[in-house]
């Protein structure tokens, strides 16, 4: 992944303190991606949010969280979507390489390749890829980062629709901007740029006023996930050669010892056994 030209790598800067909870992004995403509506029930999930979870029909949604601050009831919001990791776990585990990190930033999925093993769902630390459980021959579904738009120079649909909270641009610039805001308004934010280093860095960066765990952010490692499996997998050719070579040598030695023993016995008894005959062939 390191060979990618990252200068074009764009990122979302999502400032949750500026989110009004209008869910314009949610609607824009459904429209652009032609996703079916979901039948939902009020108070079905962890709180007020609808639909209750991301799914094959919902690539992004606004999670609501109410809490108390200084005796006052407050709301916090969190936009849930694919994080478009710099070194994505989904791409590294897919046996047929259906996931790819593009130079523009989005991590895209090629539904023509996918064999449906669902390893990507196990691997993703943010629980993003969803499956078409309703279908006979299901495929994986997730936020595309609107790669089709971004490639053509447009912003993602959700970023375009958002009136206040989402900024989209080069990743380095977005991180700089986030840090500028943290320095400028230290009281408004939790002092953390989420996504700068999480899972090895992501193309979705968050600022918020409520501790990230409280918002339901998953606990993730700072290390890029593919490195965890690669540290074992990179040994594969070596192990193959060592085991193969070692066992071959071992059996050759053992068989040779046998043959020599048989030869010697044959010499001693003076009879011709089958062994030396085998040898001559």
């Amino acid at each position: 992944m390191s060979t990618l030209d990252t200068t074009k790598n764009h990122a979302f800067l999502i400032d949750m303190t500026k989110c009004t909870g209008c869910r314009g992004c949610q609607v824009a995403c459904k429209q652009w991606n032609q996703l079916e509506a979901e039948k939902t029930v009020f108070f079905s999930g962890e709180g007020y949010q609808n639909p209750p979870a991301m799914s094959e029909y919902t690539y992004t949604r606004i999670k609501f969280r109410d809490y108390q601050k200084n005796g006052q009831n407050e709301f916090a919001f969190y936009k849930e979507m694919c994080m478009h990791c710099n070194d994505p776990a989904c791409a590294s585990v897919c046996p047929v390489g259906a996931f790819k990190k593009t130079a523009e930033g989005p991590v895209v999925y090629d539904d023509k390749r996918c064999i449906g093993c669902r390893f990507c769902m196990i691997a993703c630390p943010f629980g993003v890829p969803k499956y078409e459980w309703s279908k006979g021959l299901p495929l994986v579904k997730k936020c595309t980062g609107c790669h089709d738009r971004v490639r053509g120079g447009m912003k993602p649909a959700c970023a375009t629709a958002c009136p206040t909270a989402i900024t989209y641009g080069p990743r380095a610039a977005m991180i700089q901007e986030a840090e500028r805001r943290l320095a400028r308004y230290p009281d408004r934010y939790i002092h953390k740029v989420y996504g700068k280093e999480e899972a090895g860095g992501t193309s979705v960066i968050y600022l918020t006023s409520l501790p990230f765990e409280e918002l339901g952010f998953k606990k993730v490692t700072m290390r890029a996930l593919p490195s965890f499996t690669w540290q074992a997998l990179r040994l594969v050719p070596g192990i193959f050669l060592t085991v193969g070579g070692g066992l071959s040598a071992l059996s050759w030695i053992n068989h040779r010892r046998d043959r020599i023993k048989a030869l010697r016995e044959a010499e001693e008894t003076g009879t011709e056994s089958a062994e030396p005959k085998e040898e001559q062939q």
Partner: protein, 400 residues
């Protein structure tokens, strides 16, 4: 018509247990048909929280180490040259071949797009443990098939293939061990990506090594169990003397496993370990009853020499292995609030697969020379147009 009738009478002569197995396999086949008609979502309890369930946990992650007898024994007999164990090799190969064929079926059932399984050959991703395992499983199934061809060729008196297979025997044994080492360990690598998902009791960087060593333990234990069962129920000779040798190797591998496991837990894992009572119990059962207890049993000569107690100890190792694989791939991955349990159809399919394994083993043992195989008794004397095969001696197998 007559052939059909002959088959019908043949089937009717089977023991009731075999008929029962046939029924289970038929039910399993029917259940898997339903899965293809109605889809995974409708027939399984899988969902976005649990994309992997019983079929991956049992049919793949557990069945693969249970079929490890073939490569373990092959290496012991041919490479480490403990020749007297030779009579155990063929049943082990048949078990391995059946096991892997059924693993492939289980994998196909679980795939969302089984018709695209061949994509693995076309689009390579060497960074994917799944890619590695699917390649190895296919390669190894082929190797096992070739090894299994020997009794088939003997049965039908194909002499030229027999000669070729004989010549291939050693390369195949070495290939089998090398390929198995890779995919047995890579199954452990699968779960290295589940950082922060798999519980601390099982998540550690040594998972691949632990999977490999425990696969070797279970491979030998399965052979002990299988040979004892064949002696008891299929009227085969008692191979107790041979099994004693295996039982002597087992404490070493079990001891190695326990040492590695303790080391990984103490030195490489991060706590908390005992925050979920269910998982703690499961862990204690797995380690205590599944690995440590049989270790202490196999250390004792009296247990190793006693057919019944040796089988019990081997059974405990199998129990430990199965529980370990389930702990890693299912229980340890559980979300405390949302529980997964297999649906009826998932369970029926898995039961069908297990029944199929036993059934095919019994049938193959009935029609092919897998037990009465002693190299010196095979008749190679029929004319061979290229070179005289005759003159094959009792030592042929050891002198290739």
């Amino acid at each position: 018509m007559t052939a059909a009738r002959r088959i019908a009478t043949e089937v009717r002569s089977y023991h009731g247990f075999i008929k029962f197995l046939i029924a289970l396999v038929a039910i399993g086949a029917l259940a898997s048909l339903l899965r293809f008609i109605f889809g995974l979502g409708a027939t399984t309890n899988l969902n976005d929280t649990y994309p992997w369930g019983l079929w991956i946990s049992f049919d793949v992650v557990t069945a693969v180490p249970l079929a490890a007898g073939a490569f373990t024994l092959g290496a012991i007999v041919h490479c480490f040259h403990i020749k007297k164990l030779e009579p155990l090799v063929r049943p082990a190969i048949v078990t391995g071949f059946l096991g892997y064929s059924l693993v492939s079926i289980g994998l196909l059932l679980d795939l969302g797009q089984p018709q695209r399984g061949w994509h693995v050959f076309r689009y390579w991703n060497v960074h994917s443990p799944m890619f590695e395992v699917s390649m190895c499983v296919m390669a190894y199934t082929t190797v096992l098939f070739l090894e299994f061809l020997s009794p088939v060729a003997e049965r039908f008196g194909w002499h030229l293939p027999l000669r070729v297979l004989r010549w291939l025997e050693m390369p195949l044994v070495v290939a089998a061990a090398a390929i198995s080492t890779l995919h047995q360990s890579t199954l452990g690598t699968f779960f290295l990506i589940a950082v922060d998902k798999l519980h601390n009791l099982w998540y550690n960087p040594l998972l691949p090594l632990l999977f490999w060593v425990s696969a070797i333990c279970s491979g030998m234990s399965i052979i002990i169990l299988e040979a004892s069962a064949c002696h008891k129920w299929m009227g085969q000779p008692n191979e107790g003397v041979l099994l004693r040798t295996l039982a002597k190797i087992l404490p070493w591998t079990l001891g190695l496993y326990i040492a590695l496991r303790v080391f990984s837990l103490v030195a490489l894992s991060e706590g908390p370990f005992f925050d979920r009572p269910g998982l703690t119990i499961s862990f204690a059962l797995e380690m205590g009853i599944g690995f440590i207890l049989p270790f202490f049993m196999f250390v004792q000569k009296s247990v190793r020499d006693d057919d019944r107690r040796r089988s019990i100890a081997a059974g405990l190792v199998i129990f430990g292995l199965v529980l370990n694989r389930f702990n890693v791939s299912m229980f340890g991955m559980m979300d405390p609030d949302k529980i997964y349990y297999p649906s009826l159809i998932e369970s029926l399919v898995t039961i069908g697969i297990i029944a199929g394994h036993i059934l095919f083993f019994v049938l193959i043992a009935r029609y092919f020379p897998i037990f009465e195989h002693h190299p010196e008794t095979v008749d190679y004397t029929l004319p061979d147009p290229l070179r005289k095969i005759g003159g094959a001696s009792p030592s042929l197998s050891s002198a290739d």
